[in-house]
């Protein structure tokens, strides 16, 4: 009984691990979906940062000059990401 249990546990695990090795290489569409999700996440993180610097500017923790330059940098970065997202969506 114990040997059977050990065998099932071992064989089951090995099959699960080995199974992907016998499949054809995954399609490119999945890579695109993953890439899109990454870019969307990065875009949302940038939007959040823009909101944060707005508050910091209101609280006087950023000078007007620093606020404008940081906002511009973040917005440029976000625009770049949006461009990449649109490119990927076309594919």
């Amino acid at each position: 009984m114990e040997i059977l249990l050990i065998f099932i546990l071992f064989a089951g695990s090995i099959i699960l691990v080995a199974q992907p090795l016998f499949k054809p290489v995954s399609k490119a569409t999945k890579t695109i979906v993953i890439e899109l999700k990454n870019l969307e996440d990065q875009k949302l993180a940038l939007y959040h940062q823009i909101k944060q610097i707005e508050l910091e500017s209101e609280l006087g923790l950023l000078t007007e000059e620093d606020y404008s330059s940081t906002r511009f940098r973040l917005k440029t970065e976000a625009s770049g990401l949006i461009g990449q997202i649109n490119e990927l969506k076309k594919k």
């Binding site: 009984m1 699960l16 691990v17 959040h48 000078t63």
Partner: protein
């Protein structure tokens, strides 16, 4: 002879080791060949390895619950009379079980990070999995070959009943304190793995920081709760009237928490200003190394401690592992230094960046002081052959001024602007807090406060004022911008800036804790032997021993004292029932019976009346007591609750509009 379940546990543990190795091999091949099938396969091996660890741990828990004394571990740490909760907590009471429990938590974390990053961070994930699996491999090696929790009792021996759990561990707080501490210790493996993966893959951006920020906070919170629960347990259970003794094991948990706190602050600078890349790497390496070192201190037996419930010969292995982590991580960091350099510099001494940097320096100095004091006995023994113990006075003398400097920075930092703070802003931000603190200082001087007590209370006022003003400034900003009424502005301000205001709530909790710590300076105590009907006095209170009764419970016998407490000139205050217990009282072998004092405390916001029933002489019917009046101690625990609330608030996911 062990049963099928125990065999399943032992085999799962063996297989987990094998699959951990397989994970590393497959993922290294994936990195070399870039064949996604190898990645999927390696990831599955990691998942299976983690699942097998979970199975092994569940099996050991089951064997403890059903009292399978055919296993050495079960027989050593439980008995039939051990209550169910403590049978479960015996899982982490001994060395072998606690190491398996360590891997169990890591396995759960591995499952979570793999799930969370199933479709993201694909460049980092192979290395992250390799690194956490290597850590897992080390612990599995120990539980398989050095200290195996599934080791059967010697052949031919039948154990009718086990030894039972140490009475000091038969406490609800102590049942949950180690798991929370371990959640913290183990959790730092994840940010460490991401940091190493970022360096290996030459990703010098703040991406890894964004990924691990939440993880680090969760881990930091868990370690913080673990430390506070340990303090609470020491206060409630050990009977010496304090909550922090600078014991080596306490220090072992405090050190990674201090460096992690520094890390949590300094990553903000990397996110905002792309500075301190190398410093953040150093901090996370040191934090994780200190976590392993903490486990080493607790489990190696190198230090004598009230918290060390297991001793062993694991020391050299742990030390070797710590050395390996430090050397390999720092070599990698040195190799990647050219990539980590940034052009941004601190522009002004009076800026938010330098505030954070000072805070970091102070945290590191404090950590080093604690490390030095903790390791000094070991070092002196190694060098001179005699152990020179460093006691609480050393730690207090060094850490009280450092702690007060930190408290001051808690107040100053948030008021400073990024890059530089103008003179006008300095005056605007600091005038009210300084004025209110000065008024507080004068009042405190008038009521006779001096020295560190005076500084601590004044700083508490200063920091509280700065935090309140930050909230007010936030509300005013929203009112100006959106025309919202104050309550709505307050609510939206909190909701939309959880990190910032959660952080301020945590800062406030630290202020409250400092108030509690300062109260320690006013402690009063008496140790006395009395008989029923006798009265004694302490600090304006009269204590009367009304009677002593006895009771027999499932796992111990107890004498219960009935103490009536009256405030002189004011009337009755409370009744206290401290107990003197004898665990394993039915054991015919007198040496196995273990005495234990279960204390009773009357708590108010201003002070605790703390009673310990130290001993009872049935011949003379004389009972010994230790009574303490501990002012303000409750603020340490109130601060602890607020610390948890603040961190959870900062952690709570923020809804982001698309």
């Amino acid at each position: 002879m062990i049963n099928t379940f125990a065999t399943l546990g032992a085999v799962s543990q063996n297989l987990a080791l094998g699959f951990s190795l397989l994970t590393i091999i497959l993922l290294l091949f994936y990195i070399k060949n870039n064949d996604s099938r190898l990645f999927i396969s390696g990831r599955r091996a990691a998942l299976i390895s983690a699942a097998l660890v979970v199975i092994a741990t569940m099996v050991l828990a089951r064997e403890l619950i059903v009292s399978n004394f055919n296993l050495e571990y079960v027989a050593h740490y439980t008995s039939r009379a051990t209550p169910l909760l403590y049978k479960i907590s015996a899982l982490w009471a001994g060395q072998a079980g606690s190491l398996l429990f360590w891997v169990f938590i890591l396995a759960i974390y591995v499952l979570i990070i793999i799930y969370q990053n199933w479709n993201s961070n694909q460049s980092l994930m192979p290395w992250v999995i390799i690194i956490v699996t290597t850590i897992q491999l080390f612990f599995l090696f120990m539980t398989n070959f050095i200290t195996n929790p599934f080791t059967p009792v010697e052949a031919g021996i039948i154990v009718a009943d086990g030894n039972g759990l140490n009475p000091l561990l038969q406490n609800v707080t102590m049942a949950i304190h180690p798991p929370t501490l371990y959640l913290g210790y183990v959790g730092f493996a994840i940010p460490f793995a991401f940091a190493m993966a970022a360096m290996i893959t030459k990703d010098s951006s703040a991406n890894w920081i964004r990924i691990v920020r939440r993880w680090t906070l969760v881990t930091w919170l868990a370690l913080g709760i673990g430390i506070l629960l340990g303090a609470w347990w020491a206060y409630q259970e050990l009977g010496w009237g304090g909550y922090w003794a600078w014991d080596p094991v306490e220090n072992a948990s405090l050190m990674p928490w201090l460096t992690a706190t520094a890390f949590i602050h300094s990553i903000i600078i990397q996110e905002k200003r792309d500075m301190l890349r190398v410093w953040n790497m150093v901090l996370i390496i040191v934090t994780f190394t200190l976590s392993i070192f903490g486990t080493f201190l607790t489990r190696s037996g190198i230090m004598s401690s009230v918290h060390s419930f297991a001793t062993s010969s694991l020391g050299p292995l742990f030390l070797g592992f710590v050395f390996l982590i430090l050397v390999s991580s720092f070599l990698l960091l040195i190799y990647r230094l050219p990539l980590m350099r940034t052009t941004n510099r601190i522009e002004s001494f009076i800026s938010r960046e330098s505030g954070f940097l000072f805070n970091n320096v102070v945290f590191i100095v404090m950590c080093f002081a604690v490390f030095w004091g903790t390791m000094f006995p070991v070092l002196t023994e190694a060098v001179r052959g005699t152990k020179i113990t460093v006691g609480a006075p050393f730690f207090n003398q060094v850490n009280i001024p450092i702690g007060l400097a930190l408290l001051l920075l808690t107040g100053i930092g948030p008021l400073l602007a990024w890059r530089r703070t103008s003179k006008a802003r300095l005056i605007k931000q600091f005038s009210w807090p300084i004025m209110i603190s000065l008024v507080g200082l004068v009042v405190l001087l008038l009521i006779g406060m001096k020295g560190y007590i005076l500084i601590s209370f004044t700083l508490a006022i200063f920091v509280t004022t700065t935090i309140l003003l930050e909230f007010v400034a936030g509300i005013m900003a929203r009112k100006r911008r959106f025309g919202e009424p104050a309550p709505l502005a307050f609510w939206r301000m909190l909701r939309k800036n959880r990190h910032r205001y959660g952080g301020y709530i945590v800062h406030f909790s630290i202020v409250l804790m400092f108030v509690g710590f300062t109260g320690k300076a006013f402690d009063k105590e008496i140790e006395i032997a009395v008989r029923a009907g006798d009265k004694f006095h302490l600090d304006g209170y009269e204590f009367e021993l009304a009677k002593i009764s006895t009771i027999e419970r499932s796992n111990h016998f107890a004498w219960i004292a009935h103490l009536r407490v009256t405030e002189i000139g004011a009337g009755p205050v409370t009744e206290l029932f401290p107990e003197k217990r004898i665990y394993f009282h039915r054991d015919p072998d007198q040496r196995k019976r273990q005495p234990h004092s279960e204390l009773d405390i009357h708590t108010t916001l201003m002070q605790d009346i703390y009673s310990v029933f130290s001993g009872y002489d049935s011949q003379t019917e004389s009972a010994s007591f230790k009574i303490m009046i501990n002012p303000l101690v409750n603020w340490v625990w109130i601060g602890s609750y607020i610390f948890v609330i603040g961190t959870l608030f900062a952690l709570w996911p923020q809804r982001r509009k698309q």
